[in-house]
């Protein structure tokens, strides 16, 4: 058993620097994350799975549902819509593109929910 130096028990200068470094790394990370989070988001819930995308990045997402079907969700020009789906009623495909806060598209047969979280509020009913 090796004996420790007595200096190992008391707070050293290195400890304080370490704690300061950790706190500043955390602060920077928190700032970066908050900046990223502030953007407008699209939340796609398929059954139990939940994914968040940025509303401002154009992309096409193919969402497979548990029963084997699919929905092709398109995010473009700050709007979201369902381009194609193999569900029975095609209500999601016929839904107009959504872009404002709390607007959503739902595909009941595939248990798919598309929600928009945006700084742009829906001015209808206000």
């Amino acid at each position: 058993m090796s004996l420790q130096k007595s200096s190992d028990y008391n707070l050293k200068k290195g400890d304080l620097i370490l704690i300061a470094v950790i706190l500043s790394i955390t602060g920077i990370a928190a700032l970066l994350i908050m900046q990223q989070k502030r953007g407008d988001q699209v939340i796609i819930t398929s059954g139990e799975a939940k994914e968040t995308y940025s509303l401002n990045e154009s992309r096409t997402i193919r969402v497979s549902c548990e029963s084997g079907g699919y929905n092709t969700v398109v995010i473009r020009n700050g709007m979201v819509w369902v381009e194609e789906a193999d569900c029975k009623n095609q209500i999601c495909v016929n839904h107009k593109p959504v872009s404002k806060n709390h607007e959503s598209i739902v595909c009941i047969p595939h248990k798919l929910f598309i929600d928009v979280k945006s700084s742009r509020n829906n001015d209808i009913d206000n």
Binding site: S7, D8, Y9, N10, L11, G14, D15, L18, I22, T26
Partner: protein, 162 residues
């Protein structure tokens, strides 16, 4: 390995298990999952300082696997192993550097344990949103790491003469 050492390490392992269990029973409910005190890290620190990296890695691995099997459930074993591996690696490097006290080494361990757990969570859930937990976990880890390190310093000092 003498009988004395085997017996001591076994007792320390049981102590670690008890501490894990105690912590899982504490009614501390934080809004962020994953925040914990890390009481059992006191044992890891104790073995690391008084017996070395190899013994403390073995004790840590055994504790994580056993406490997973007995108390918390199988899925926590993966998280515990990845977190523990990060933690023990970082702590042994921190100890070798010689510029940190026991408290500093404990804070390093807590910080890297959190990083390890986030890595494990990322592997399991395949979801990058997990990174949002990082600031909360890092701050909680710094605080609890400091406290655990403070107690560990006393423990290591006392256990040296036995």
């Amino acid at each position: 390995m003498t009988t004395k050492k085997i017996t001591r390490l076994a007792m320390l392992l049981s102590l670690g298990l008890i501490l894990s269990y105690l912590e899982s029973m504490l009614p501390l409910n934080f809004s962020v999952p994953g925040i914990k005190i890390g009481l059992a890290n006191m044992v890891t620190m104790l073995v690391l300082y008084n017996y070395g990296v190899k013994d403390s890695s073995v004790i840590l691995l055994l504790r994580v696997v056993l406490s997973g099997l007995i108390f918390t459930g199988l899925n926590t074993i993966l998280f515990g192993i990845v977190g523990g591996a990060f933690c023990i690696a970082a702590m042994s490097v921190g100890k070798k550097l010689n510029c940190f006290s026991v408290i500093g080494v404990s804070v390093i361990g807590a910080f890297f344990h959190n990083i390890g757990q986030l890595v494990a969570a990322f592997i399991v859930m395949q979801n990058s949103n997990i990174i949002y937990y990082f600031p909360y976990l890092a701050i909680a880890g710094a605080v609890s790491g400091f406290l655990v390190g403070y107690v560990s310093a006393f423990l290591i000092k006392r256990f040296q003469n036995i």
